[in-house]
Amino acid sequence: MLKKLFVDFKNGLWRENPIIVLVIGMCPTLAVTNTVENGLAMGIATSFVLLSSEIVISTFKNYIPNNVRIPSFILIIATFVTFTDYFLKAFFPDIAASLSLFIPLIVVNCLILGRQEAFASKNPTHRAIADALGMGLGFTWVLVLLSAVRELLGMGSIFGIEILGSWYQPMVIMVLPAGAFISLGILVGLMNYLKRRGN
């Protein structure tokens, strides 16, 4: 039983990683990964929304008629996203300011709705929790890795702390949207290569 839960958890980390394997939730992935702080905050916020909505939906799935399943899911997700938005604005105003409109946009992140459809609406609550934690962590680690690469090459710093000295001429393109596409493409390619070699 515990082993099965661990399989659900591990699924999102690597084998079905939302970003590099399923390639969903691309909008925040490309938009907010210009600094590690933004990437990490986005990952945590998305994981929180994913976890709370998977818990609620897997618990109450039998009361939700099939015909209104999608609007019901969206309502529940939107509630948690609004909560997150207020919470960040009240207690982490700096992060809220730098992520600004990408927090409300978590509502339409297809990772969240996708997991409700594919997992939470078909499985018991404890398995949904394992799935949400795995997917959330899988989403977060890729965001952090991607933003670390972009911040280091684009600004010469990590978490706003200068790492590369003044000799380094920042590659401005890395903090622009084009840099997001380039680094994500290389990352996905690298992961696919590693996976093929593993088989």
Binding site: T35, T82, A90, M155, P170
Partner: protein, 185 residues
């Protein structure tokens, strides 16, 4: 699939009501903190853009909010206003403080913006903001070299649009302050 329509309506209504109730509690809980942050940010901005004042007063003139700074003797040392205009990605909102006696800008403070991090976002940095300290009123010229005349503003390398946007917003704000307060003190 033949669920009765009344059940569908009921389900969505119940979810809607529960979520509205929950969110109204969250709203009540967080609003005081959010308002406090906004007030602190505004006070900090005022201290930056009207440096010599001891007390600040909010006044409404001709439908526009201005902030007046007074020194310990009760004399008005400067006027500030919040102005906004289009930036590279979205609206830039900033505060401008001016000295009406010497017809010069005290300084500016960016309140909100969504410029590109590492490029346009450097409008919030001291290097760029120093451009406006003790700047005479007038039409500003954004240049890509060391400023040679008093009305020139040095652009941020790679972010000319953001630099120009800020200069434009500052220009307009000064005009508005001058319109309302007249030329003199």
């Amino acid at each position: 699939m033949d669920t009765k329509i009344s059940k569908l309506i009921l389900t969505l209504t119940v979810i809607g009501i529960i979520s509205a109730i929950a969110l109204s509690f969250v709203y009540q809980w967080t609003t005081p903190y959010i308002e406090q942050h906004q007030m602190e940010a505004r006070e900090e901005a005022l201290r930056d853009v009207i440096p010599k004042a001891q007390e600040y007063e909010e006044v409404e003139k001709e439908g526009q909010i201005f902030f007046e700074g007074y020194n310990s003797g009760g004399n008005r040392t400067g006027v500030a206003m919040i102005a906004s205009g289009p930036g590279y990605q979205n609206i830039i909102e900033l505060m401008v403080g001016v000295n009406l006696n010497s017809q010069k800008v005290y300084g500016i403070k960016i309140l909100t913006h969504e410029e590109t991090p590492g490029l346009g976002a450097r409008i919030t940095g001291d290097d760029y903001k120093e451009n406006y300290i003790d700047k005479p009123f007038g039409d500003y010229n954004v240049v890509k070299r060391e400023p040679q005349s008093e009305l020139e503003v040095e652009a941020i390398a790679g972010a000319t649009i953001s630099s120009k946007s800020v200069a434009k917003i500052v220009e307009n704000a000064i005009e508005q302050i001058q319109d309302v307060y007249g030329g003199g003190a």
